[in-house]
Symmetry: C2
Amino acid sequence: MNTHFHAIIPAGGSGTRLWPLSRKASPKFLHDVLGTGRSLIQSTWDRVAPLVGPEKVWVVTGESHRDQVAEQLPEIAVHKILAEPSPKDSAAAIGLATMLIAQEDPDAIVGSFSADHSITNVDEFRLVIDQACAAAETGDIVTVGIMPRNPATAYGYIETGDLLGLDGAPTARRAMAFAEKPAASTARAYVNSGRYRWNAGMFIAKASALLEVLETEDPTLYAGLSRIAQAWGSDAQAEVLAEVWPDLEKRAIDYVVAEPAAAAGRVIVIPGDFGWDDVGDFDSVARLRQPVPGEPAGVISIGQNCDLLEIDASGVVFSESKKPRTVAIVGLDDLVVVDTEDVLLITSRSHAQDVKKAVSAAGERGLDDLL
Amino acid sequence: MNTHFHAIIPAGGSGTRLWPLSRKASPKFLHDVLGTGRSLIQSTWDRVAPLVGPEKVWVVTGESHRDQVAEQLPEIAVHKILAEPSPKDSAAAIGLATMLIAQEDPDAIVGSFSADHSITNVDEFRLVIDQACAAAETGDIVTVGIMPRNPATAYGYIETGDLLGLDGAPTARRAMAFAEKPAASTARAYVNSGRYRWNAGMFIAKASALLEVLETEDPTLYAGLSRIAQAWGSDAQAEVLAEVWPDLEKRAIDYVVAEPAAAAGRVIVIPGDFGWDDVGDFDSVARLRQPVPGEPAGVISIGQNCDLLEIDASGVVFSESKKPRTVAIVGLDDLVVVDTEDVLLITSRSHAQDVKKAVSAAGERGLDDLL
């Protein structure tokens, strides 16, 4: 892999559809949501650190999560955990990390990989990122387009164009456009066309190229981040951060960089098919835990102190019980149970997206301790 | 009401279909299963004590439940709690109580009322028992036939015959026969005929008449119980009980007394329609707790420390949580949740009968502490 390749892991978002496992104070990337023995951010580290070298991994996260991230990733250099005073969406997070990387390494290529996604085929992932890194040498912004498993409406799509025939990136294609999360009929048309891929939110680019697009498309954000980056590591860091950060606009990297670059014909997409999932809800989790995809697996237990007793049942039980407890499920299929100290959630896989309604309802009732 | 009328409350059975609320060590009659503020045996006392006078109520229960019964029924005379060394079914329990009552009051009429049933219309119940008491003066065995709400297969039935035109019991009819829990098609035929009633297991009879049938139909059981009754209250009580009780045969009063008496044309049935329910499973419980019968009521909470958060959900949640806890239910109907210290049960009203399978499975796994 390119020795100038650096990884950025944005670790934000509260993951309300995985509530009450995921909370504001303890978002999903800090949890072993899939019962693998590693939290999602640890699994991301395990995939990414070998690609770039552990000394070239950066994490951008909330101030309140800094200590937990440091504890979970003991190999990371402390100054490479960038703590945001408040959440400002991905453009600010990735933009600042890219500037700091460029200060250390002007020839850097940066790759951004979410802290809370899952990838089952890491070898294939590595081959795709190898191609992305090679394609980034062109100076274009490179993204990964996931082969859709179904006409999902929960993901954005990338429309792919012609093969580019790049050295070291034989499957690279031009990205024609990014499409928002579509309606069901549009999603079906996308998938049937064979030209659309899921947008997994991965971006690989020369730091200089990414920053050039950022400067052109949002000069205000670029100027603010530049002031912070210049003060970084100096005595003025805290002061400048406190002064500039609160006024930064919240914008997604997709809108500020990827879409304008695609419109200018400057985005490349590498098709990928490596079991990517955004672990967005409990239905995702249950699917990812099925021993044989497509086959029912009875009830799956994730967590501690849970002794299962299932009678004609299937689904997934998360237990954070302090004491051993038997969970008996009788005659219910695709059930989702999350048993925590202060909240017991019961829903079904088909209602997994509605969990956020329960979180909203808890918020409306002022149950802030539970959020 | 007749001043010779005495009530017997058999308090046995473990209520496995209400597990894990009901356990061997703490059966359903000791629990406030319906969230009324009174346990089922307390509600039974509340119905029966005013009928006969609190000094004429007897409870037959297991040795291990004696203290809890005494605690829950502070008005009962201690010597009227008969503690069985081991469960011997209803013929032994009711037979022994009847003998002890007859020793105190040779002209006694006894009525037997289960400790774990529910009756919603107590005024109507009282009128029916008034008639039963009057009918018992004939020397026949009197029972109550509940107007079937549906062709239930979980109850036994009583076939009713002609009106008898008895003084004080204008609706009394001859009972032609008792029928076991029927198949669905048989149950429909019973209900459509208009002649069949549910057997609620209530028996009202002169003590002398009941004992006469018992002596004829099971002389061995009668002899054993007589030995115990004669020693009762004397220094020999414990010794005789320990010697005789273990060998008593387990038989139901229905087989030993009711069926033979019916075959001999000596059973009277008083039709009753007073919202009787055997509280046999969680479907019963959910129905009994519906504010308006037949209308869905969202999620009903019974117990303590449970804060409900329901999104498109209905059913019933029992909580024995030691600490306040939010139970969030999203997108599930007719759900049944029982949240206890060591067991969490999740099922649906339509699978309420299958809860006993979970209890069997727990037993097979040797989880004896949970039974």
